[in-house]
Symmetry: C2
Subunit: 141 residues, 2 copies
């Protein structure tokens, strides 16, 4: 089928986009003094707000055992705090500190700048269209 060629091309452009975004992120994170996974955790917490170990581990694709040691380090480096919710004293709520929030805001700003760069030559209509298409794709996952 000829129509499949569109899907294939699109699929490859998506993979290329993903890889370039990975490299960009890696380059940006070097120089912060934090590890990639710590910044990733900060990003997730910045977007979604405080969450439990289990939920954060799932979002990061690691086990809670691994996350425990990561959070230990992130507490030591001042990015996050542990809080025990009154409703369930088994649980641990991982929360950004003020310093962690600052790091998140700075990192988010870099993403914002990148987005500007990538869509610099697009018209407002095209940018709006792209936003709509991303929203729809995110919805179909």
């Amino acid at each position: 089928m000829v129509m499949d060629i569109n899907h294939r091309k699109l699929s490859h452009e998506i993979i290329e986009f993903y890889d370039k975004l990975s490299s960009w992120e890696l380059a940006v994170v070097k120089g912060t003094g934090h590890s990639l996974s710590h910044i990733h955790a900060v990003e997730i917490l910045g977007v979604n707000g405080a969450m439990r170990m289990k939920e954060l581990a799932e979002k990061m694709g690691i086990t809670t055992g691994t996350l425990t040691v990561q959070i230990d380090k992130m507490v030591r480096s001042g990015l996050v705090m542990r809080q025990v919710p009154q409703t369930d004293r088994r649980a641990v709520l991982v929360t950004l500190t003020e310093a962690g929030e600052v790091i998140y805001q700075q990192h988010d700003e870099l993403h914002h700048q990148l987005t500007k760069q990538l869509t610099m030559k697009m018209s407002d209509d095209e940018r709006r269209c792209l936003l709509g298409l991303f929203e729809r794709m995110n919805h179909e996952f």
Copy 2:
């Protein structure tokens, strides 16, 4: 500035898309019996063809020292071969084996299916538009 809101929203949709793609990839790779980074190497070699250690390491964001041990394992698991080019006997060309090529094709097919799923409800025009916008973004990186 009001216009920035578009950039910010778009930036957040891109991050969400990236995260969902990461999770998808992780889920897909579990069950193959290969590690995420091995499959990633296979993907890069499948798209770009055989390449040197240095180039592959750069694309993967790791040092050549780390890559050496990865390639050792991938050779043992039958995914790749090492070849020494006649033109420069210092270098090592990492090449997919037939089995590695099969793994690549299978993995690429899964990406293809995902792309279909994500754009299922789009018109051909919208899909074409999306392709064009991805091409332009990839160009601006």
